[in-house]
């Protein structure tokens, strides 16, 4: 807070000075950008630089030693476990992305095109956000009594005589992980897609119909191409969130599955900060590459 207040003071005095001395406009623009620069500098650039620096340090069970070693990277990238973990995380990401994209698009499509009144649209949209009134952890944990060995699903199915004994893979499995990830992240897909769909001029749909397009043809040739920017933004949200997830994977797999972030968390609990930092840098690069790939496929500038 102190930083912000002082920069504001700087800014006002700068403006006052500019009036008096007619200092060039450029200087004023830089001054106006200063508060944001300071905030980003302290809370974004500085931490990343710290991680980058620490990733080259040496360590043992007792402490960290400033150094310039590539050991942390060679260890990370040279280990089969890292590759397997990355593969596993990418698998979760791909599955979650595909499912949230499909579900998110249909929910957004229904909201945007099948609900007639704006009031009802807003009400239903708020209903979608209701689960977000509780924390991620609670929403995740509430799956346990539903999916557990003696949970709601299993007991219902056995009592109805549909299955002879409880299904084991409902909880503490990849299925449970993906289910929870989809549940937690679908809204991040719904929101941007809904936003783009609402901006589609309804006359375009009529024009397509006038040209003889059937319902599916309208969807495929007009709605889907125009929804791409929203889908890209939603994909960025979901991919970055899932790539960095550790709690969902840990809880829902019962510790049987690993993710990159979980690996980092374990390294940190063993005080191997430089190793975790190297891992974080690698993860950051991978995620940035994925985002770049998404942006290459879809031009989202229209949405911003």
């Amino acid at each position: 807070m102190a930083t912000i207040a002082s920069t504001e003071a700087n800014e006002t005095s700068g403006r006052a000075r500019s009036r008096g001395l007619r200092s060039p406009l450029r200087a004023i623009s830089y001054l106006q950008a200063t508060p944001l620069l300071l905030i980003l500098g302290f809370f974004f650039i500085l931490p990343i630089l710290t991680i980058l620096v620490v990733s080259f340090w040496d360590y043992d069970f007792a402490g960290l030693y400033p150094d310039f070693l590539t050991m942390n990277y060679t260890d990370t990238l040279g280990s089969r476990v890292t590759w397997k973990t990355y593969l596993n995380t990418l698998k979760f990401t791909a599955m979650t992305w595909a499912l949230t994209l499909v579900i998110g698009f249909w929910v957004a499509y229904f909201l945007a095109f099948h609900i007639r009144t704006t009031t009802m649209q807003m009400v239903l949209f708020l209903v979608c956000t209701v689960p977000f009134l509780t924390s991620n952890i609670i929403r995740m944990i509430s799956w346990i009594p539903v999916l557990g060995r003696n949970g709601l699903v299993n007991s219902t199915l056995t009592e109805l005589g549909i299955i002879p004994q409880p299904i084991e893979w409902l909880l503490y499995s990849d299925f449970a992980v993906v289910l929870a990830l989809v549940h937690l992240n679908t809204l991040f897909m719904v929101t941007p897609i809904f936003n783009t769909l609402m901006r589609i001029d309804r006359a375009l749909i009529e024009a397509a119909r006038d040209c003889g397009a059937s319902g599916w043809q309208v969807l495929w040739n007009v709605v889907l191409p125009l929804a791409k920017p929203g889908m890209a933004i939603g994909s960025i949200f979901v991919v970055t969130l899932v790539m960095a997830d550790f709690s969902t994977v840990q809880v829902m797999s019962g510790g049987q599955s690993a993710s990159v972030a979980l690996m980092m968390k374990n390294q940190m609990s063993l005080l191997q900060y430089p190793a975790a930092a190297a891992n974080a840098v690698v993860l950051l690069i991978v995620v940035l590459l994925m985002v770049a790939a998404i942006l290459r496929v879809v031009d989202i500038r229209k949405e911003l």
């Binding site: 001029d201 006359a203 040209c211 003889g212």
Partner: protein, 362 residues
């Protein structure tokens, strides 16, 4: 290119919930004519057009195109094509794909449909821009592309929803001329919705004036201007003064109406009985600035406003129950004997210039 179709609208209504947008209108638009639907916003003209196009369901009545009743047909099966107010070009497709869209929907091969689209763009003199996206075009260019897209389906009738409203005044007049020329060359029926009487007068073979979901008058532009059917038409077409009163006497085909303020005015050929309300219209350019030869063919009022327009001068007078009775006189006549605001002024007109205005029976 294609043979034009006659459009026959038979007591068509449109009801939205509890409000009726179109009240059982009937109209015949002859094949190959240019028809303009004219009226203020909310008069039902766009609803009518959209019902012809098939984008709006018809609550009751039937629409026939050529020899086919199309009431329950989807838009693309009717043989009509619509051009939307905002043109509704697909922003993600280049001009060729925009124009070729309906061919793609029909499953025409890519090469064939692109060749045909380019041909259509060439007809509209837009072939140089074929690879551009709609956002890179000006309003007039977008309109040409929209026309190309509508015409590639070889329609029997082209429906245009306020096609010129998004253009600046200069371009409006140019595109208006292009539309008229296109209609003449193609020879198909054009139905054009507008709220500009000037546009309708310039383009139409048949002007349909609508108000409150009903047709006030459907006639050729000259008839509409010279013999407006109702007070609404006279007011909406402009350049007409409307006086309202009650018939007080009828003598040898000449009726006398008395306005609430007491003045009396003569009118011929009126089909009303004594005591009934009646409106008369007098064209603003037929009003003379001189005392009337007969008391009932003029009045004396007070000048409220004088507007100089170059070749003519518009004088607004308060009197005879009207607070904007307008006389348009030539500049020479005006400057021979100028008047200014607040002056008393005698106005008069000839008996044959008094137009009896009817009322809708509904």
């Amino acid at each position: 290119m294609s043979k034009a179709a006659e459009i026959d609208i038979a007591s068509v209504s449109k009801v939205y919930g509890t409000t009726t947008a179109v009240h059982a209108i009937s109209l015949k638009i002859s094949a190959g004519s240019y028809c303009c639907f004219l009226g203020p916003s909310g008069c039902g003209k766009t609803s009518t057009l959209r019902m012809i196009a098939g984008h709006e369901s018809i609550s009751s009545g039937d629409i026939r195109l050529g020899n086919v009743v199309v009431t329950d047909f989807p838009p693309a099966k009717r043989g009509t094509a619509m051009m939307f107010q905002s043109y509704a070009l697909f922003p993600h497709l280049d001009l060729i794909d925009n124009v070729a869209f309906s061919l793609k929907m029909k499953g025409v091969e890519k090469e064939e449909r692109r060749a045909k689209a380019l041909e259509m763009l060439t007809l509209m003199q837009m072939e140089a821009y074929a690879a551009r996206c709609p956002a890179q075009l000006s309003g007039g260019q977008q309109q040409r592309v929209a026309l190309a897209r509508a015409l590639i389906t070889d329609p029997e009738a082209l429906l245009l929803d306020e096609p010129l409203s998004a253009l600046d005044p200069f371009l409006k007049i140019r595109m208006r001329a292009e539309l008229k020329k296109l209609q003449k060359t193609l020879g198909i029926t054009f139905v054009h919705v507008t709220h500009s009487q000037e546009e309708a007068m310039a383009l139409a073979d048949l002007i349909v004036i609508m108000n409150d979901g009903r047709i006030e008058q459907a006639a050729a532009p000259r008839t509409v201007f010279e013999k407006p059917a109702t007070a609404f038409v006279a007011r909406f077409m402009g350049d007409h003064n409307v006086l309202s009163g009650r018939v007080t006497s009828i003598d040898g085909g000449i009726a006398t109406l008395t306005v609430p303020e007491g003045q009396t005015f003569s009118v011929r050929d009126i089909a009303q009985e004594i005591g009934k309300p009646v409106d008369i219209g007098i064209r603003t350019d037929r009003v003379r600035l001189e005392p009337a030869s007969e008391r009932s063919l003029g009045f004396q009022g007070v000048v409220a406003n004088v507007e100089y327009r170059g070749a003519s001068v518009k004088i607004t007078v308060v009197g005879a129950g009207s607070d904007d009775f307008t006389a348009v006189v030539s500049d020479a006549d005006y400057f021979r004997k100028p008047v200014s605001t607040g002056d008393a002024l005698s106005l008069s007109w000839a008996l044959e210039d008094v137009i009896p205005l009817g009322r809708l029976s509904a």
